[in-house]
């Protein structure tokens, strides 16, 4: 037992992964960009950069700012639009040694449904992630993912277009993430990605202006890990569908926090900007961690740290 190789294989809806590690959307290109530096056959899969119905030039520059233990980004969903994407790009992503997950972003419910349907028809794509965390132009900067009802409409519409695995990516910028999670589940999501970036900004104190061309950006990296671990912990208690945990994962210890909090798989984004060898290292050390503890499979530890929120309170606890 202690010497058997523990199984790291995992399943997200119909998506079967040899390794529980997805590469975060927008951080890993199509995988090809990292192939010279990392072994794609040792990762679970790549979530492609989000694609939209129409072409998007993306935001003005700068698009990135480094912050303490993290990074702000405001790319603006630069992409050639679904038509061009399907005709000229997607075929390049075939025959990868890992799974390919498409990511869909939109500015209306129809956007999501339309792009999701067309993307899902393609064999290169094994599952689809709905990025409901980009501004809903209709309602000025608000994001679908911040409102349970808007999220529900997007998920319902997308669900109707495909049987492939649908992963709904939740925004942390909400009062109660479990409310959004429950609606996504009840509307047919197969899994939830928790969390997308946290909204933030940085200011240039010499120029007296925001550092990002887009003024605001999304915070990622280790700085947001405690926020992400809690989100996974709370969502895991609220839904039955699998969770892809993400937000600042850099080491096996970080990864384990997410699995113990209730994630069935994890996603690694910003850490690839520090060292492209990290995903493979995490897989190797996960195997080692399970082996020395005589745990046969990763599945056995998922959610094991979950003791509810109140159990641990000695007196009405709070965070003051």
């Amino acid at each position: 037992m202690v010497n058997a190789t523990p199984s790291l294989a995992t399943k997200i809806g119909k998506l079967e992964l040899n390794y529980p590690t997805l590469m975060g959307s927008g951080c890993y290109g199509s995988g090809e960009e990292f192939a010279p530096f990392a072994d794609l056959s040792k990762i679970g899969g790549v979530v492609l950069k989000s694609v939209t119905r129409l072409p998007r030039l993306g935001n003005s520059t700068p698009r990135l700012v480094h912050t303490p233990a993290g990074m702000l980004n405001a790319i603006g969903l630069q992409n050639p639009g679904i038509d061009w994407y399907l005709e000229r790009e997607l075929h390049k992503y075939a025959n990868r040694p890992c799974k390919i997950v498409g990511s869909v972003a939109g500015f209306s419910v129809d956007d999501y449904a339309d792009v999701c349907r067309r993307l899902a028809q393609r064999d290169e794509i094994e599952a689809i992630e709905l990025n409901v965390s980009c501004p809903n132009v209709a309602s000025e900067g608000e994001t679908f993912g911040c409102y349970p009802d808007l999220t529900a409409r997007v998920v319902e519409a997308a669900r109707a277009t495909t049987d492939k695995t649908l992963i709904v990516k939740l925004s942390p910028n909400v009062t109660d993430i479990t409310a959004v999670a429950r609606r996504a589940e009840s509307c047919g999501a197969d899994a939830l990605a928790v969390i997308n970036t946290v909204r933030g900004m940085a200011i240039d104190v010499d120029a007296w202006r925001p550092r990002l061309g887009n003024v605001t950006g999304g915070l990622s990296g280790p700085a947001i890990r405690p926020i992400a671990v809690l989100a996974v912990y709370e969502v895991a208690a609220a839904v039955k569908i699998p969770i892809v945990g993400q937000g600042g994962i850099e080491t096996v210890t970080d990864a384990l926090e997410f699995f113990l909090a209730g994630a069935t798989a994890i996603s690694i984004g910003t850490a690839n900007f520090t060292d492209p060898r990290i995903p493979q290292r995490i897989v190797a050390e996960l195997e080692q961690y399970l082996r020395v503890r005589g745990v046969g499979s990763l599945a056995e530890i998922v959610g094991r740290a979950n003791m509810g929120i109140s159990n641990a309170h000695q007196y009405e606890g709070d965070e003051g």
Binding site: G26, C27, Y28, G29, E33, F34, P36, F37, A38, D39, K49, L54, P55, L57, G58, T61, P62, R63, L64, V65, H66, A69, M71, N73, I75, Q78, P80, G81, D83, W84, R88, E89, E250, T270, N272, F273, T274, D275, P276, R277, Q280, R281
Partner: protein, 274 residues
């Protein structure tokens, strides 16, 4: 290092030498034969921070002679401070060579290299190769002070004609290196690396005087390998370097954002729309 065998462009190299040509300016010389061999003029590496506690840092490959690859950097913040603490004997993980370097294929016989500050790190290999093929190479090199005109002598010894400028006049002419360029007789081609304002001005001069110019750009990097679209610059869609994007009449655009790390860092001045 089983990890690495699989990945020809991920290296773990021993630091053979660490010198400090000027206060706050460091040169690390690495034992990296494969990297050195593969390097073309104007390419760069992403250096993994030893602490693992920051994004990798993009650094030009300053030199690649004798199975060594070296980097030259200014200490400007957390990451370069950490690299400045690296000692001979330590090992560094780095990815590269990355990006498309300078295009020296047209075999110009009279070339002007314009370097501002630490931009000097991106042009040594160019100068060496151009001189080797017998071209005339003028180096227009500007910095804040005389002390910060690092490695100038090395270019002179190799056969470059030096035109130096400093902000404080402590060496060479006082003022901007681009003013010196504007006053000079025009070369067949200009290669430049330095702060954006300097590069924009070089582009103007090249346009006015009808000379081709290649500019090596800089932006805050994320991945450094083309995966995040964080490092872009507006480029005419007709450029051979432009990423795939629908034309204006198909709902796209005639100017698109290209990745400095992937399509660049070197671009033709006349194709930029910044």
């Amino acid at each position: 290092m089983a990890l690495l065998d699989l990945h020809p462009r991920m290296h773990v190299a021993t630091v053979l030498e660490h010198s400090e040509p000027a206060n706050g300016t460091h040169v690390l010389s690495l034992d990296a034969p494969d990297l050195a061999r593969a390097t073309r003029a104007g390419q760069y590496v992403m250096v993994v921070p030893p602490s693992g506690e920051a994004a990798a840092t993009a650094l030009a490959i300053y030199d690649n002679s004798g199975n060594r690859a070296s980097v030259l950097f200014f200490v400007t913040g957390k990451r370069t401070r950490e690299l400045a603490a690296v000692e001979a004997g330590d090992s560094l993980a780095l990815a590269g060579p990355l990006g498309n370097g300078f295009d020296l294929s047209r075999g110009a016989r009279d070339v002007a290299i314009v370097a501002g500050g630490v931009g000097i790190a991106s042009v040594w290999i160019c100068a060496r190769e151009l001189l080797a093929r017998g071209a005339r190479v003028r180096l227009f090199y500007g910095a804040r002070t005389a002390e910060m005109l690092v490695e100038a002598q090395r270019f002179a010894d190799a056969g470059c004609e030096l035109i130096l400028t400093t902000d404080d006049g402590s060496c060479g002419e006082r003022g901007f290196v681009t003013d010196a360029l504007a006053r000079a007789s025009m070369p067949q081609e200009i290669l430049a690396c330095g702060p954006s304002p300097m590069l924009r001005r070089v582009g103007e001069i090249a346009r006015e005087r009808g000379v081709l110019a290649q500019l090596s750009l800089e932006e805050t990097f994320g991945c450094g390998v083309g995966g995040c679209w964080g490092c872009v610059v507006p480029l005419v869609a007709s450029s051979a370097q432009a990423p795939g994007f629908p034309p204006a009449d198909a709902g796209g655009s005639d100017v698109v954002y290209a990745r400095i790390c992937k399509e660049g860092p070197v671009f033709w001045a006349h194709e930029l729309r910044w």
